[in-house]
Amino acid sequence: MASINVGGKDIPLDEEGYLENLNDWTPEVAEVLAKGEDVTLTSEHWEILNFLREYYEEYQIAPAVRVLTKAVGKRLGADKGNSKYLYSLFPYGPGKQACKYGGLPKPTGCV
Amino acid sequence: MSMLHIVNKSPFERVAFESCLAHAKAGDSILMIEDAVVGAVDGSSFSGKVKAAMSDKTVYVLGADLAARGLEGKVMDGIVSVDYAGFVDLTANNDTTQSWL
């Protein structure tokens, strides 16, 4: 099984690189997961990651991209609630990639 | 708009069959398969409800499931026995199908 090492601790990942145990997540884990895909997390990335984690905490699901886009727009403004902005931050797909770094499961309905 | 309701649970064990009868509309079809075929037997404590449904709906039973349980000779009058091809025809001839699991 794949894993990453963060601060001396081995953290298991599933076959697609998502955390096996959601409780393993820390901000450092997010940084390491992003670095593994040559991404350096900026405050703009973190704004979305934190938003996703709050959404998951409240609703127990990672939202579909359409839902994420709408919700980000409502919370953070229309200049951020659009696919162009979200894809500029997460080119592999805002749902998949941001959920991975955020320590959440792949969004339901994401293929 | 006609609907085919498929039931597969015994009315003596689950409420699915009863719920189906309560929600089916006049002109709809009801097909009993698997364990639900015990609902086709005449003289049971449930047969009155099936007879009432037959006043404005058509009730079918899958013959193979009835035979498997040795109940072929005990079916109440008015219930139509179908084979697997008849099952397919029923799904094709109705606008929608609802399974009462």
Partner: protein, 134 residues
Amino acid sequence: MSTKNFLFVNRKAPYGTVYALEALEVVLISAAFEQNVSLAFIDDGVYQITKGQNSKETGMKNFSPTFRALGDYDITKLYVSTESLAERGLTVDDLMELTYEDADDDYAEKPSIILVNREEMAAMMAEQEVILSF
């Protein structure tokens, strides 16, 4: 892709079997494909949306908060059987408050739960193009 009226009929209590959770996942997937999705809660299905669920000690995930996200997915019609509630000694006050924001009405918050009797439930079912049961 054409849009169809999808109805998901929930008739089983949560946790004891996997039906309720599986249904919810399929509901979210179908909504992601922008279909016109409604839900019905009949028989033990009404237990899926009771408030105050706490599955912690069972080791199972409490997925009831996810029903509150359905409004975000434009799923705004949750039909609940009044007879099923009454048979179980429940009233609408025992259910979670489920709402959606109406985009056509200045995003006013509106209730998603629609209480219907058997006759109304049957009439609503007759208007569906696809019915999936869990």
